[in-house]
């Protein structure tokens, strides 16, 4: 049985207390958390070293202005932290980070990962100003009842991996009736237990039974996932429906730039598009009589699926930023999961597990040897 501590402050306040105490006692050198920006009312990940700057921290605010895994990779791409740094990130952000570690784009050393049982997030547009106020109470009420809140990003409603894995501390939120009073933190590693011991935040107790609401949310998410999958129907032989879906894509590649897995400095598809000469479109004109300009819109998406969907953690970041509302994360989640199933792979589950296309078993997959 793992241990938990209870902080007698709720939600954001509770997490702030935890982070502030760790920072003040020198348990960690810095913390990474979402924080309101004094200036414009937006929300961003902030690397905080001064406890006073935590006053504006909103670790649990339900938006994702950037993928936390990508942020952690920016921070640790060149070298690991030399001293402990705590980071509050969502489970899909943790999974994204783990995939980046596997790709040598990040170091996990000295990172103390703190992650919530994730109730989901609202679209990123809601991060600016404070248009969330009205909905936030309802959001936490639903969470304590083990129900999905209204207005979440679609991809969150079908996320079954909302309970963090591979982290040091889990913020237990789902299905808890005392959410408005206290924060329950499960200590998942020995390191976490050791750190918390000296914080004076109360003695660790044995973790209790899972609340009913947790099970309820699990089933709600399973149903949500099935619904999302049913909505996207690309069956066919000519890719017609898939191509139609991307008819309005403006090829801005925002989806790839904010994706934690698409870490490449120079994306293959951009390099190729830049290198394409007249031979490219002349060939198209000959065959089709017309061609979209710039070319390669659908190709980019299929190519990206082939490059990275095996590691797609369904974080929804891509869909959040798509200016023309293409259900891009739902598509990548669905296709990605299908590909992942072939190899029984769950991206981000375990840093020691190899990416399937970088390893093999001698006796397997004979169905593709035709």
């Amino acid at each position: 049985m793992t241990a938990t501590i209870t902080i007698d402050k709720p939600l954001d306040e509770g997490v702030r207390t935890l982070l502030r105490t760790m920072l003040e006692k020198g348990t960690v050198r810095a913390v990474l958390t979402l924080r309101r920006l004094e200036d414009g009312g937006g929300v961003a990940h902030c690397l905080v070293t001064d406890p006073a700057a935590l006053a504006e921290a909103v670790p649990l605010i339900p938006v994702m202005p950037a993928q936390g895994g990508q942020v952690l990779s920016h921070l640790t791409q060149e070298e690991p932290f030399k001293e402990p740094v705590a980071a509050v990130v969502r489970p899909c952000e943790v999974r994204g980070f783990v995939e980046l570690i596997k790709r040598n784009q990040a170091f996990g050393d000295n990172l103390v990962l703190i992650s919530p049982e994730c109730p989901g997030v609202f679209p990123v547009q809601r991060a600016s100003g404070d248009p969330m106020d009205d909905d936030i109470d309802a959001y936490w009420r639903s969470t304590s009842e083990g129900k999905g809140a209204d207005g979440l990003r679609p991809v969150c409603t079908g996320c079954e991996l909302f309970e963090p894995v591979g982290v040091d501390m889990t913020l237990r939120l789902v299905g808890r009736s005392d959410l408005d009073k206290a924060l329950t933190v499960r200590l998942d590693t020995q390191r976490a237990e050791d750190m918390v011991k000296d914080l004076g935040l109360g003695k660790a107790k044995e973790d209790g039974k899972d609340p009913k609401g947790l099970e309820a949310l699990r089933s709600a998410r399973a149903k949500g996932r099935a619904d999302l999958r049913a909505e996207l129907d690309f069956t066919g032989e000519d890719m017609a429906e898939f191509s139609r879906t991307f008819g309005k894509c403006i090829s801005c590649h925002a989806c790839s730039k904010v994706c934690p897995i698409c870490y490449c400095q120079m994306c293959y598809f951009e390099a190729r598009a830049a290198a394409a000469g007249p031979a490219w479109w002349r060939n198209d004109l000959k065959r089709k009589g017309a061609t979209r300009a710039p070319p390669g819109t659908v190709f980019f998406h299929v190519g990206r699926l082939l490059h990275m969907s095996i590691s797609c953690v369904a974080c929804g970041m891509c869909e959040d930023v798509c200016p023309v509302d293409i259900p891009i994360a739902r598509i990548f989640k669905k296709v990605g999961e299908a590909a992942q199933e072939v190899f029984e792979y769950v991206p981000g589950r375990d840093p020691d597990e190899d990416i399937p296309i970088r390893t093999f078993v001698e006796d397997e997959l004979h169905e593709v040897e035709r």
Binding site: F234, T235, G236, E237, D238, M239, A240, E241, F242, S243, R244, G247, Y268, N283, R287, K288, G289, A290, T291, R292, P295, G296, T297, V298, F299, V302, G303, L305, L306, H307, S309, I310, K334, V335, A338, A339, V342, F343, P356, I357, R358, F360, V361, E362, E364, L365, E367, V368, E369, R370
Partner: protein, 147 residues
């Protein structure tokens, strides 16, 4: 695309084959010097190892109008870079899955192992794939403007 167009009279389909240098390309060569009957509709790109063929290349060919793409390599265990073709197999599994999911006919791609001594097998494989693709007709992507 309409069915009549697919079966357009006189349409000559195009097949791209990737052959690994050490086995399949040698197999193709053998088929050639043995003067075995082979379809004329395929063009070959020689690669050092079947694992050099990124699935994106296969899809590139399809997007650029090829009607079918076949990847050939050494038999498992015989790859000259020891393990390349095991990776090829995984990539093929990935490619076929993705094609399935986005609704593209995955029978337009194929993976087969052919050794240097298997000239007749090479010829048979090409014959077989050729007739599959012939019966499928034109790749619907080759005339889609909005790609």
């Amino acid at each position: 695309m309409t069915d009549e167009k697919k079966k357009e009279a006189g349409y000559e389909h195009k097949i791209l084959s990737f052959c690994c240098n050490w086995c399949s390309y040698a197999g193709a060569d053998l088929a050639g010097v043995s003067r075995l009957q082979m379809p004329a509709n395929f063009r070959t790109i020689r690669v050092m190892c079947s694992s050099r063929v990124n699935p994106v290349y296969v899809f590139t060919a399809l997007e650029r109008g090829a009607d079918g793409v076949i990847v050939t390599g050494c038999h498992p265990g015989d790859c000259h870079y020891a393990r390349g073709n095991y990776f090829t197999r995984r990539r093929q599994a990935l490619l076929e899955k993705v094609l399935d999911e986005i609704g593209f006919d995955r029978e337009r791609v194929m993976l087969r192992w052919i050794s240097a001594s298997e000239g007749p097998e090479f010829a048979d494989t090409m014959e077989e794939f050729d007739s599959t693709i012939r019966s499928k007709g034109k790749n619907p992507l080759s005339e889609e403007v909005f790609l």
